[in-house]
Every structure is written in structure tokens, then in C-alpha cells.
Symmetry: C2
Subunit: 272 residues, 2 copies
């Protein structure tokens, strides 16, 4: 099982608990470097918006991914965790649509509604469906009322309206965050913000990201270091992962101000 070199720490635990070996594939500006996949049965990717780096997989890499799956009979798990939120570019089609028998597509209501709902969906290669349904039933079933409510929400058109409203609101938040950082912390570089609900904030070389985290935490602001999501040991500069979807609307401006203050307060890191 291969995962991207950056991603949720939880995935590593899930893979380990299932007894599979874990390898990583590097990410560059075109997305996962599929040519470096090597000998693996399955790869989990976030092609539409790499988590957390934020890059979208290039058309060429998408083609390479599908070719790898077809040539090796490998499985691609396409984690489309925030597919509803695209701002500055056209939505990218799912890999799954290009090769339905090689790609397991994963969608979720965690970003569009709430993570606590525990509602998600899979589009599976036909030959996997029975096995996955049985495994899910053994693990636990999902609240039937919640499923029926979501189905009604979708078929009534209200979910689409909710997404349009949310997309607009999150895009505004993204713009406010980027503008505030530009003004109050002009030395940082903000990346990965063409989509989704989080930004990668690269600090100037030598700055201590852990100090920023600690300073923000003192003001009740939870942010993460990019390190916390790294799964290989390729060096990278100091950087933060900032989720901007969480604060309630009335607290958003103050949260952004606290973030800028925490960044400005960070001293240079001690020399390694």
C-alpha cells in the first residue's frame, strides 16, 4: 500500500492495523510522481487537491496514474475529501470516471456538512463491491436516518444550494486570509489555496514553525505544522497548515489577526 508523502497521520495507523506494508510516493508541482510508484498493489491519492499541499494533479500525471493501474492491475484509491470547493479553476473530473474498474472513489460530507456526521460514499470497481459492503457491515453500519436525510437533502436540490452558498462563503474566507497575510506577514508564501478549506503558509527560511504553533495556541488558535503531515523524510522549509473553515463567522477576523500576530512574533529558529 502506497500513500502520498504528505497526508493525514491517521492513514498510517489504519494501514498498519490492517497488516499491510506502507510506502510513500513523492509529490511535486504536478501532484504525486506516479512514475516512482515502484512495486505496490494500491495507492491512495488526493488528485483534485493534494492534502495538505494543495496541488492539483496535472492531466499528464492523471494519464500516467490510469496507465499504471491498467498495466499492473493496481488499485487507485481516489480520496476526494473536499471536491465541492473549487474557487479559481474549473472543477477537475474524477480519475474514477476515466477507469472505473481500477479506481475506488471516496467522497464525504465531512467538509460540505460536518465531519461528526460520519457520512461518506464510495464508488467501487464492481469486483470489490460485495467484499467492501461485507467489511463495512462487520465494522459498523451507518445511521439509516442520516443516510435518508442526506438523500432527501440531495434530491430536493437543497444540498446543491447549500454547496453554492458554502463555496461562496469559504472563498471569501480564503480571500480574507490571503489578504491579511499579505498585509501583516508579507514574508510568508501562501500556497494550495485554489480549492478546499485550508492553506499552506510557508514561513521564511530559518523561522521556527513550532513557536508559531505555540504562540497561536496561547490565543486558543489550533494550527498545525506541515511536518505533522509529512510521511517521508525529504527536507522542506518551515510551514504551517491553516484550516480556515473552522472558526464561527463572528470569530473569523479575530482568528486571522491572531494568526498574523503569532507569525510576526516567531523568532528565527535556533541553528540546527
Amino acid at each position: 500500500m502506497t500513500v502520498e508523502a504528505y497526508g493525514l497521520p491517521e492513514h498510517r495507523r489504519i494501514v498498519a492495523a490492517s497488516g499491510l506494508g506502507l510506502s510513500t510516493v513523492p509529490i511535486d508541482t504536478q501532484g504525486a510522481t506516479v512514475s516512482k510508484l515502484g512495486d505496490t498493489d494500491a495507492v491512495m491519492l488526493t488528485p483534485a487537491h493534494q492534502f495538505p499541499l494543495g496541488v492539483a494533479m496535472s492531466p499528464r500525471r492523471r494519464t500516467e496514474t490510469i496507465r499504471w493501474a491498467a498495466d499492473t492491475a493496481g488499485l487507485v484509491i481516489e480520496d476526494d475529501y473536499d471536491g465541492e470547493f473549487r474557487y479559481d479553476r474549473q472543477p477537475v473530473g474524477a480519475l474514477q470516471a476515466l477507469a472505473p474498474e481500477h479506481v475506488a472513489y471516496v467522497g464525504t460530507a465531512s467538509k460540505s456538512l460536518a465531519p461528526g456526521l460520519r457520512l461518506a460514499w464510495l464508488v467501487l470497481p464492481a469486483e470489490l463491491t460485495d467484499e467492501v459492503v461485507a467489511a463495512k457491515a462487520r465494522a459498523d453500519r451507518t445511521n439509516t436516518l442520516d443516510q435518508l436525510t442526506l438523500a432527501e437533502f440531495i434530491t430536493s436540490g437543497a444540498y446543491d444550494r447549500h454547496l453554492r452558498r458554502s463555496r461562496h462563503a469559504y472563498r471569501r474566507r480564503r480571500d480574507r486570509l490571503v489578504a491579511a497575510l499579505h498585509q501583516h506577514a508579507p514574508d510568508v508564501r501562501v500556497t494550495g489555496v485554489a480549492a478546499g478549506l485550508h492553506a499552506v503558509v510557508e514561513l521564511p527560511a530559518g523561522h521556527d514553525e513550532n513557536h508559531v504553533i505555540a504562540s497561536a495556541a496561547q490565543h486558543d488558535l489550533a494550527i498545525e505544522t506541515l511536518n505533522g503531515y509529512q510521511r517521508d523524510d525529504t527536507p522542506h522549509g518551515p510551514a504551517l497548515v491553516v484550516g480556515y473553515g473552522t472558526p464561527p463567522e463572528h470569530a473569523f477576523s479575530s482568528a486571522v489577526a491572531k494568526l498574523c500576530a503569532a507569525i510576526r512574533s516567531a523568532p528565527l529558529a535556533p541553528a540546527p
Copy 2:
């Protein structure tokens, strides 16, 4: 892993999927015959209301169960699936309270609210808590909103009121079912109805339970044979397991009438 000689077929699949061996322990009029447990690490029991036979475990057997667990360091899984619904007898205390370090207690809102909610709770020996929490997180988490709603329902007192109303309503259904069978199918014997939401209906020897099931199904009535819940091969007479909690209130009388008609229509079984 040992389970009772009667129970949900699903348990066998769950145990098999986890790679454990499965043995069964017979049930008599005092509940599971714990003295026959033999060499096993864990036993799953329904002491308050054996599913589906309906017997309550006698005080003596309860003591034997706790002694077995203490002597062998074995684990008792106490499945209290319908503990809220007792009619003709005092509530029985949980085994868990007698030996909290040897008993994992399982409660659920499946009977008191709805199975589709997927809300249940465990009271675990302290040494198992971390491991079970981690396993549950890997399998899937439970809807946070549902958990908070149930917590509010309980602390407000509304859940208790709901249980009192439901207990009264289900007891009335139980009485109506028993009275109707007494009048319209006087040859059957109804057992296990001091608690819960189902009855075991023993047919006269030689009657064909499968015919009753098929005849009921023709009238959109889903009932089960006792055979469907049997996990060993001890012979028993023809019998049905009838859940009386499912039909909506306006359809209950007609469902009972259909059941009586299906029983009356059953011919003697072909000689084996």
C-alpha cells in the same frame, strides 16, 4: 469464543471474520449452562433475557458465571439488548455490576429508540478500554450529533419518560398477542414473554413451521423460525420467533390476526 446455543446468526460471521474459533454453550430453563463452558477465553451471554428463547439467567447461574470468569480470567460479554423492557418481574441487575473487571456490558438504543440510529454503549473492564476505543476508531466513529442528542435526551429526563411510555405500549402489545394466540391458536405455547419485544411460539409437535412462515409472508408478515437462530444441533420442536415491536400501531391487530391465521393454516409436517 463461546456463544449461547441460540442467538443472532450475525454473531457467528463476526467471530469468524475476526479469526476466532467458535463454540456454543447450551441453554436450559435457568439460562446458559455455564458449568459446560469448557476451555474458552470469552463467552457472550444474554443473561437478562436470553435471545431468542427469553429465559432469564437464575441467581445461581449468575454466581457460577462470575466464578468462572474469576477462576479462569475469562471475559464475559453481557449483551443487554432489550434491558429496558421488563414486564412481569423485577429488573435483574447486570452481571457487570457484580464483577466489573471480568464483564464487558453492552447496551443499545436499538430497541428503545431505533436500530437504524446505530447507538450503543459499552461498560468495559478498565484494562480493555484503550484497546477497544482504538479499534472502534479504526472501524468507524459514531455520529457526534446523534451522541450529543442522546445525551441531552437522557439528562433532560425525556428518555426515561419515553421508556416508561414504550414499556407500557409494548406490554399491551405483548398481552394482546398472547390473548389472541390463546383464543385463535390454543394449541401453541408462548414462552419468553416476561420481557423484551419478541415471543417464542412453540407449535404442536409435527406441525410445519416453514409452512407458517411462508403463509405469513404471503400476507406481508415477516416472522422467523427458531431454527434460524439455533447454533448447535440439539433437536427441538417446531417454533416461531415473533417480534411484536415492529408493526405500526394501526396495523398491529391485523398483523396478529394474520399470524393466527397462518398458524391455523399449517398442515402437519411431512414425516422426516
